[in-house]
């Protein structure tokens, strides 16, 4: 288990399909200060690959991504 991180912004992406989850994530991250943490939940299995790819191409930090049944939860820290 990753150590408990306090998120500043929560985002519900449940039911949304590609490319909308990354659009919402990018908009949420943009609205946050550098160092802030975004917590999101999604149901599209595509985000398991897409969120790590998005953080890699934007230079933000993926703190965790885990699947609990149908629900996928992830934490992203805004780095720049």
């Amino acid at each position: 288990m990753p150590q408990e991180v306090k998120s500043e912004v929560k985002l519900n992406l449940e039911g949304l399909l590609c490319p909308i989850p990354i659009v919402k994530v990018s908009q949420a991250i943009k609205s946050m200060a550098v160092g802030g943490v975004l917590e999101a939940t999604a149901t599209d299995p595509g985000v398991l690959a897409d969120i790590p790819a998005w953080t890699k191409s934007t230079g933000n930090e993926l703190l965790s991504i885990e699947r609990e049944g149908k629900l996928i939860k992830f934490l992203i820290k805004r780095v720049k």
Binding site: G15, L16, L17, C18, P19, I20, I22, V23, V25, S26, Q27, W54, S57, T58
Partner: protein, 158 residues
Amino acid sequence: MAKEDGVTMIIISGDMDKVFAAFSIAVGAAAAGKETNMFFTFWGIKAIQKGNLTGQSFLGRMVGLLNRGGINTIGPSRFNFGGIGRWMFKRMMKTHKIAPLEELRKTAIDLGVKLWPCETTMQVMDIKHEDLIDEVEESCGVATMLEMAFHSKATLFV
């Protein structure tokens, strides 16, 4: 051009499936902070038309009549069956809560994706700038597109 890692896209197809893929990729690139430019040529120009009847000359008006309607009237490249396929895919996409093409295009515009109409297509098909949606850039040619492609990391032809 400031950044050297943008995405340049050439949209030649006016089919629903391909235009959908094109806008999805553009939206994805823009969401990753990449400068994204889309060039619409030949059938692709329909994706940025308002949908009104176009043309001044006889042949231009014929093309305008045959190719009437905007982005919401385009059908899939396969299984269209005279419009039934379009209805079917739209319905299936709605079931999966996928936004219609027009909304995806709006998302692209809101994220700063630039839409460039091909001047030659507009002249050949007798399409005026006012027949295109208000958000498009000035019409341009292959040199403008290539200039952007030379400074991009990825160039895609749809």
